[in-house]
């Protein structure tokens, strides 16, 4: 038994060391490492830093499938030959850091998609920017990455979806003004996306005079029975900024099971009409239903053909958009260099000026002149109908 105790103690120490490594931040940038000029006719590489396995593996695999489809269908339009690399961050910031170093060392890598999660952006942005690599995220929404006095990301970071400072207040105002909510329970999943969005929503709710109660669950928790028991019976809304739609579904079902009248309000991470469909619930998303956008129909059909059996989620289409922005910027940089890509930084210079008509999420796309966020980003709110369909309500 003593040997067993020692073994267990060693395992505990290893787990602590691993946790410490995960929270480690890279040191400040040590200068630029511009790649030598590349011929734009040669195959250039774009790497995608996203969780392909682990708890958020669903997110990365969905995003990767859309990025692949974008590269496959758009590289010709932009006059490029692109090889897309997949770097599996496993939701681990230290692993994302190692992968960033790996791609920095490959001179053929000229842009990065992602990192997909805010924690990974904070951990890699300095490394990537020091090497001149633009990194364009389809899903990192933490506000402090691009806004505020202590910005966590560098000027090389861009995102194609609006941040939590847009989503949180939008959701909160809808709860307070449209739903006349008096009491809201907010449950975060103890990870950056979820905590950031819950913070932003709670702040606005408080300013609007709504009583808020804050709870947290472990990111791997999927049975919410005890937290549901804690939800006061006069609660109007349970706000659930989770990254997995089935969790919002389970939460809503367990509220009904325990006879609670509160409705679930999910963030963009729960937007999936196949997996979250408890009638009466609400969902917000950075885009309206893209399957109702005429020019998206062919894109969706093509993607479905390449990914038989896959369902249309909310995280994938922005990855298509991010890949499109990256290719457009590379193409512009190549044009400016007369067929040569002088350096990776030439791509960063062009990202900000990219404009795309027929944006996959609807309308047209360009970046804000003040930050590296999308111009005029807004969120749409849906209510789930009795047949499970999503109806736009704001």
């Amino acid at each position: 038994m003593k040997k067993f105790s020692r073994l267990l103690a060693l395992l505990c120490i290893a787990a602590l060391a691993s946790a410490a490594a995960a929270t480690a931040r890279p040191s400040s940038p040590s200068g630029s490492s511009a790649a030598s000029a590349l011929n734009c006719k040669s195959t250039l590489k774009i790497a995608f830093l996203t969780p392909l396995t682990g708890d958020a593996g669903f997110l990365g695999t969905e995003q990767m499938s859309w990025a692949k489809y974008a590269v496959k269908t758009l590289q010709g339009k932009y006059g490029l030959k692109i090889q897309l690399l997949g770097g599996d961050t496993q939701l681990d910031a230290s692993l994302a850091s190692s992968l960033a170093q790996k791609y920095v060392a490959d001179p053929k890598v000229v842009a990065i998609l992602g990192p997909s999660t805010s924690g990974a952006v904070a951990a890699t942005s300095q490394t990537l920017y020091a090497a001149g690599l633009a990194h364009i995220s389809p899903s990192a929404t933490r506000t402090s990455l691009t806004k505020g006095t202590n910005r966590e990301a560098t000027p090389g970071f861009f995102r194609v979806v609006p941040d939590d400072s847009v989503q949180g207040p939008t959701d909160a105002r809808f709860m307070a003004k449209n739903l006349k909510a008096k009491k809201v329970v907010l449950i975060d999943a103890q990870e950056p996306y979820s905590v950031g969005l819950a913070d932003a929503t709670q702040a606005t709710l408080k300013s609007l005079g709504v009583t808020t109660i804050r709870e947290s669950v472990n990111v791997s928790q999927s049975d919410f029975s005890s937290i549901v028991t804690k939800v006061p019976s006069d609660t109007d809304i349970v706000f659930a900024p989770f990254q997995q739609p089935p969790k919002a579904q389970t939460l809503a079902q367990q509220l009904i099971e325990q006879g609670k009248k509160a409705k679930v309000f999910g963030g963009d991470g729960t937007n999936d009409s196949d997996k979250f469909k408890v009638p009466g619930s609400y969902v917000s998303n950075f885009a309206g239903p893209i399957d109702s956008i005429p020019y998206d129909k062919a894109i969706i059909a093509g993607w479905k053909k390449d990914n038989p059996g896959a369902t249309l989620g909310s995280f994938g289409p922005p990855a298509y958009g991010a890949a499109q922005v990256a290719m457009a910027a590379i193409s512009k940089a190549c044009a400016a260099g007369h067929g040569k890509l002088a350096s990776r930084k030439a791509v960063i210079k062009q990202v900000k000026s990219v404009q795309i008509k027929n944006w996959i999420l609807g309308g047209s796309f360009r970046f804000s002149s003040k930050t590296n966020d999308p111009f005029n980003g807004r969120f749409t709110i849906f209510q789930i109908q009795s047949d499970g369909k999503y109806k736009v309500v704001a």
């Binding site: 105790s5 791997s220 099971e257 325990q258």
Partner: protein, 307 residues
């Protein structure tokens, strides 16, 4: 009082699942002195087998058999499938290393764990899957049941708790009242002496894996009936099951049952009365306290070292 009753029901539901997982750890450790770290992943495979069977039988919205039969078939096939996997794991990952230093089968167990996780991801993808049990018979499993005061005890929780107790009692009877059980106990006590008495050790070990894995399969289905499942659920569930086994006294069957239930109560009541943020901390603090002050657990035997 209503909240207390509800937390107790939550604890029993959760604890029953942990206890079934813990039993698998204890059975294997009791006989082989091996920490089968792949056990949590067998639990995950059980959840997926249940999902496959549910789809084969028409899915939650339009099942082709009555709900009670559907649940029975799902649990039975998950138990059978996991038993086969357990036998395969023992045969190919552990038996060749039976006489190797103890670290070798431990590493092999971790390898099997990763193998199962990533094989399942390759086959079925990384996204979470939901049985959608709420749709079975218009929510009968969640909305019907009996009341204790103002608290409804839904049918599904009754099914999960009672099935888990039936399985645990059946296992206890098997180990304590049958010839095979006697052979298992003898092997656990002294493998070499048991072999000299004519007990087929390989058969006993194989049987322990069959039982442990079958229970994990049943636990997988019970878990997934209430919560979404993904290929990664085995890690945390396995860790909790292992913790329950250690608290109860690893190698002890009643210990695994009590340890699982204790863990369920610790988690549920910490979430309810302290903070949801603290529940895992509470669970693993209990584990550390046991390791420090009673490393043999509640029902385990202390090591006797002869000098």
């Amino acid at each position: 009082m209503d909240d207390f009753i509800q937390y107790t029901i939550n604890a029993l539901t959760l604890g029953s699942v942990y206890a079934l997982i813990a039993l698998g750890y204890s059975l294997v450790y009791g006989i082989l002195k091996l920490l089968n770290f792949a056990h949590g992943d067998v639990f995950m495979v059980g959840a997926y087998i249940g999902f496959g069977m549910l789809n084969l039988l028409g899915g939650a919205t339009s099942p082709v058999v009555p709900v009670w039969l559907l649940l029975t078939i799902m649990v039975a096939t998950a138990m059978a499938g996991c038993a086969v996997i357990g036998v395969a794991i023992e045969r190919f990952a552990y038996r060749p290393l039976r006489d190797a230093p103890r670290i070798a089968p431990l590493i092999s167990a971790l390898g099997v764990s990763f193998f199962l996780t990533y094989s399942m991801q390759l086959l079925f993808g990384a996204e979470q899957r939901d049985y959608n049990a709420f749709s079975l018979d218009n929510g009968v499993l969640f909305l019907k049941g009996f009341d204790i005061g103002n608290v409804r005890v839904p049918l599904l929780r009754i099914v999960i708790i009672s099935s888990a107790f039936v399985l645990m009692i059946a296992l206890w009877l098997l180990v304590n009242r049958t010839r095979t059980g006697k052979a298992m106990r003898a092997t656990s006590f002294d493998r070499e002496a048991a072999a000299m008495m004519g007990i087929d050790i390989d058969r006993v070990i194989r049987f322990a894996f069959v039982l442990g894995s079958a229970l994990a399969g049943a636990a997988g289905v019970m878990f997934a009936l209430r919560a979404p499942a993904s290929v990664t659920i085995g890690f945390v569930a396995g860790l909790k099951g292992f913790t329950a086994a250690v608290i109860g006294g690893i190698g002890s069957i009643p210990g695994a049952m009590v340890g699982g239930l204790m863990l369920g109560f610790a988690e549920s009541f910490t979430q309810g009365y302290v903070s949801t943020r603290w529940s895992d901390l509470a669970v693993f603090t209990i584990l550390i306290l046991f390791m420090l002050f009673r490393p043999q657990g509640l029902f385990g035997r202390a090591d006797i070292r002869k000098v």
